[in-house]
Amino acid sequence: MTAHTKGTGMKWVGRAIRRLEDPALVTGQGHFTADLPAEHWVRFVRSPNAAGTIDSIKAPDGAMLITAADLKAVKKITPMLHKFEYRPVGQSILADGIVRYVGEAVAAIVAPSEEEAEDIADLVELNIGATAPVVDARDALSAGAPQIHAEAPGNVILKGEVKTAGFDGVWTSAAKIVKVDARSHRQNATPMEARAAHAAYDKASGRVTLTCTTQMPHLMRTAIADLLGIAESDLRVIAPDVGGGFGQKMSLCAEYVLLVWLALRLKSSVAWTEDRRENLIASFHSRDQYIALEGAFDKDAKLLALRADVVSNVGAYSCFPTTSGVEPLMAMAEMPGPYDVQQYQCLARGVLTNTCTMAAYRGVSRPIITFTLERLMDKAAKAFHLDPVDIRRRNLIDKFPYTSATGLIYDEATYKQTLEMAVHEIDLPAFRLRQKEARAKGRYLGIGFATFSERTGYGSPAFAARGMAITPGWETVHVSVDPSGYVEARIGSSPHGQGLRTTLAQIIADELGIPPDLIKVVHGDTDTAPYGWGTFASRSLVISGGATLIAARKVRAKLIKIASHMLEAAESDIVLEDGAAKVAGTDRSVTVATMAREIYTQTHRFKGELEPGISESGTYDPPGTFSNACHIAIVELDPETGHVKVDRYLVAEDAGRIINPMIADGQVHGGIAQGLGNALLEEIVYDESGGILTANLADYMPPTAREMPHIELHHMETPSTQSITKAKGLGEGGTIGAPAALLNAINDALTPFGVEIDTIPATPQRIRAALRAAEQATKKSA
């Protein structure tokens, strides 16, 4: 085979073959939503106020203006949770009488071109009676704060509480209580392709095709059809090439609903391409949390109990389908992380504010809870005069299966092994020496550790446990062989950069003895793909991969039956390889192409013993498992400027069997880049009036190539028993571990100054402010 792949060995799984996605993408032949022409273009008029009542909206004469008054027949987006005192709040497609954040869509202008729509939208007179907003979650909890929705008194949209039975006794008996007040500021996932949608009405069928940049095409169809009161079969949703998602494109956008409504009304095509400013202020945000975490330790620095107070700023509305529980509830469930601690108390609240709606972003709460917990462990190490590695050795779980204080079952993990592997590779004693020498010269180096687990590939029971009205979990894959012998897999997942067309083809290739580049993986079109949930939560390779394996095994069994008939040999003697079925130990063989032609067109030869055609389905709904890793960062901090340079970044990771090492490494690299942005650079800043000060990519700063260290990756590959491909997910781990490792490294570098920083991003301004405060305190006391 084949110029398109590289690698050696008998199996395709485990090989770093080139991606089947790439030839189109490197030649400019990809199909992205914004590439489509349309008869009509939409520009949204967005609220300049964070809170207020809409007094009037007036468009220039002759303009086509759509407001909430036109949408009375459209239901509000009202995501639902059946637990945790959740208060359902509704979101109108366009603001209906009240605005709740800067950037909320208030009206839509429809015009023949994008430019005209923008020009007219600029002329719309929007009169809003401004009222006092509340931007910060703690302020929103205070007595007398403005109420965002009447349905959620006190602005609390949900409240989760956990307390284990023996908590109080253990807490009072502890030798030391260590505390961290962590703050994570707000982020935007910032896919390079902002949102875009194109809805086209087909006059012959009366159907609408919505092409949009989404991670969940089927659920978009379900949700939009429901809101508009149309049959799902009258709506086709296509996710073409999608320019990154990272969770932001998982949630339902009100804008997409309006596009479908307009296509039906105009009986034509209509498009909207979001600009970067809109994306930064009005798409979806994330990570805006306060976590106060305390750990009770015994005299040997063994963690006995954890107590957490999570305040999650969920913005103005609840996101569909996960609801605004996505961050606070994940924080509550997974706070204990990789440590053996059986006593736990947590209060987790989702708090409504006059800010852009919060939704899932790569890692969801785990970058924050991991950073918080890992800061706690480092503070505890200091309190007990231990090395950060030692305290982790004493507390990491090493007996499996392990049931966490919140009832999660850790089936298996290699926390200690990956820690030791990473510590060995980094050469800690040599670093400590170098650090000491550097400090003598006025240079400040620091090392930071993060050990954590990444819950991956969890099926519907995990979502049901959250009380979600919609429990995404399973995936279905159809694998067929067409009469010409080519293999096609239709999948419900919806990859957008993860390389799933390649990795799933590798899985099928090994089952069928056919090279991957003869296998087409088809996704992202609700007319051709089986119903599925899409791509998010480090799930697709595990769940869609499992479904692919199940379907491919059925196809394999069918091919062996066909070959057995055609070659008049026992099924047990047939092997599939090199695109053919062979009778082991003989020269008798028949190609897959011949078998396929025969089973479709000469069915009578099988005497009714075999069904015509080759088309099989597999569905997989696994319990879920946990990947794990240890990240180590070495930084140099300039106390004069507060600048942090990452000198070295090392990862030891275990994500089970690796299907394609090149793609796996790429996921980790990209995840760490986003985690580094989270830790050092990226922050959506609201002013007190609820205006956003970071509405372009110069003010909101994702890392560039200059900020990224070279990442050293070490893999363990412990095959998972909870995943039939033995693979675990790893899409989020990089993002989860990086803020913890980097903040611990920064704090290690800050040790000589007696300063700590528990806020992300740890920008130069924040580091300087902490140093300045310490300098002033020293002066005062002197």
Partner: protein, 159 residues
């Protein structure tokens, strides 16, 4: 703002006779008037570099240039990078080294890297890193982009 100017854009050696408003950016003209949608638009502020094309040998942000300013100039886009069926070494290197994931920023990175290396084939690694820092990628963490560009630079020098 509806007065349109007739002009000809020369993209990848082919003339496109179009009529655009004076305010039309080169990026929009390339995509919408000339139908070459391989060039992507990421921010329209000149920051992300997704729309980078080569104009008279220089990589430029096509969202920061008006179409009328590009008349008479040689414009190269990602669609013109391959020589028939043979990929440009930069395209091949991005595939070989996994320098792309979602592929949205890729055309901009390819044109940036090719433009710079054609002008300055012996650019040192540190300067190259500075150049690559002018575009944003959200998927790869850059490590494999850097690897790919260095590998392609070797090959381009060897030609």
């Amino acid at each position: 703002m509806t007065d349109k100017t007739a002009l000809t854009l020369t993209i990848n050696g082919r003339d496109h006779a179009i009529a655009v408003e004076a305010r039309r950016t080169l990026a929009d003209a390339i995509r919408e008037d000339c139908g070459q949608t391989g060039t992507h638009i990421g921010c329209e502020h000149g920051i992300c570099g997704a729309c980078t094309v080569i104009v008279n040998g220089e990589p430029v942000r096509s969202c920061l240039m008006f179409a009328v300013q590009a008349e008479g100039k040689k414009i190269r886009t990602v669609e013109g990078l391959a020589d028939g069926e043979t990929l440009h070494p930069m395209q091949q290197a991005f595939m070989d080294h996994h320098g792309l994931q979602c592929g949205f920023c890729t055309p901009g990175f390819l044109m940036l890297a090719v433009g710079v290396l054609e002008r300055e084939p012996d650019i040192n690694d540190d300067d190259l890193l500075d150049v690559l820092s002018s575009n944003l990628c959200r998927c790869t963490g850059y490590q494999n982009i850097i690897k790919a560009v260095r590998a392609a630079a070797e090959q381009m020098r060897g030609k």
